[in-house]
Symmetry: C2
């Protein structure tokens, strides 16, 4: 249990985290940083929030564990600001969906200080966003990737793992580079494809929408996600994402050719390989 813990940002992940930390008794005191006045007022009346601050420096003062839950492109800047004012021994982590840049900057920011930066990626988002959708059980049973580097303190890595495990997450450790490659394939590419399908269908006759079955609804559910968040993710993970897209387009070309050639056996085996993957998930 931490004496004091700070959550920076109170959107869907930050607010859900506050509820879960309070509920599990993982911190004596929970401080929240929020930028906007209205959000601050909303936080102040929440049971899980002990102090709400709009001053970044004040919000981390005296905390042993700080979790940055702001939009992914703002994380590097926040790390730099709080690394300088945190106490020795403080662990700073985040919830960003892209890790190489963040971990590289995190390692730089805490260099030669007693503060540690350990990247986290709790994979608990949804197509909803904002504090209004916060959910005590958001993290339950979901995967969480901890990204360690050669500069990471093993002790701090273990404490960070323990924190997410205490929220019932399934915790794995990857290097930041492997993380970014894996999520490019397993999260960002599916989002790109889903958005592309939804965008294409937006321009088709409206009368066709009434024949939407579960298939199209499932395939495009994530396309309803926050465009601002996903724009940031696509740009921050651009290189691994573009490589995954190239690779996927080769697979698509193969499927196109075997359908074009009506190669029954190859179509069947292609579909079977896909079905095998899904059944194993």
């Amino acid at each position: 249990m931490f004496q004091q813990l700070t959550i920076i940002g109170s959107g869907l992940l930050g607010a859900s985290l506050g509820m879960a930390v309070k509920n599990k008794g993982l911190a004596q005191t929970i401080k929240v940083w929020a930028r906007r006045k209205e959000t601050l007022s909303l936080c102040k009346v929440e049971d899980w929030c002990d102090y709400a601050e709009d001053d970044l420096e004040q919000s981390v003062k005296g905390s042993e564990f700080v979790i940055i839950c702001t939009p992914v492109e703002t994380i590097p800047n926040i790390i730099e600001k709080i690394a300088m004012v945190s106490n020795d021994g403080t662990i700073i982590t985040d919830v960003g969906s892209v890790k190489s840049k963040i971990c590289y900057l995190g390692d730089q920011a805490v260099l030669n200080s007693g503060v540690g930066f350990i990247g986290s990626h709790p994979m608990a988002g949804s197509e909803n966003s904002g504090m209004g959708h916060a959910d005590l059980n958001l993290f339950n049973g979901k995967p969480c990737i901890i990204t360690s580097t050669e500069k990471s303190s093993r002790n701090m890595v273990e404490i960070t793992k323990g924190f997410w495990k205490a929220l019932n997450m399934n915790v794995y450790e990857f290097s930041p580079e492997e993380h970014d490659k894996a999520v490019a394939y397993f999260s960002h590419l599916p989002h790109l494809i889903s958005s592309c399908l939804a965008n294409n269908l937006e321009w088709k006759p409206k009368s066709w929408r009434k024949i939407s079955g579960n298939g199209i609804k499932d395939c495009t559910r994530i396309a309803a996600g926050d465009p601002e968040l996903w724009k940031q993710i696509f740009l921050m993970n651009k290189e691994p994402l573009m490589l995954a897209l190239d690779d996927w387009e080769n697979t698509l070309l193969k499927l196109r050719e075997i359908i074009q050639n009506e190669d029954i056996d190859k179509i069947l085996s292609f579909l079977e390989q896909g079905a095998n993957f899904r059944k194993d998930l």
Copy 2:
């Protein structure tokens, strides 16, 4: 209510249909045709099945309404066989996912007879298949497209619509050609893309699978569908599907370019258009 109704084929759709027809009291007698001995035995002990036959001619004798629920590529052949032996006034329909070829052959098969062929496409499938997954409520609230041609009897179209409406389906009428174009975009293209994603991921490191979130699970759910069924659908609707794929690849190319160029405004508006589509579904 029909005096006698025949269901040809007792897979997921055929068996669910039998249950629903019996439950709603839409037919006094339900006859089922099944090819395999084991399936015949299974049908015979079902409450909803009054007679089970392996002789196609016998199975439709005396029925006013016949629904062909066999794999889509076998439907044209079955229509030809039963059209000749059905009574005047009999309506033959089907549940096939592709309609132009079936309706063209259906019209030819009943030409100058008192029998009518009206195409149906109840969009109630799932990634499951077989009688073991049959469900009384499978059709509830799902879309069903009736495909009429200039040769269709209006009276028979209305009776067929009434039948699916009685099963609580949302019934729409399309030409076979418009149906095939619409499902190419709203059902077959999503399946192709989902299978392609699942196939591509099948070859990635197994350790990455543990980070699968809801996004990838939703996007690939339909990829677990029956490969044999989908191979048939892809081939029977090949032309509309390849046109939809060409069109979709142009959209993908656009998205790739704006990400490559880091054109923030265009990425945002692309993602917003996709989100709008999904929120409207």
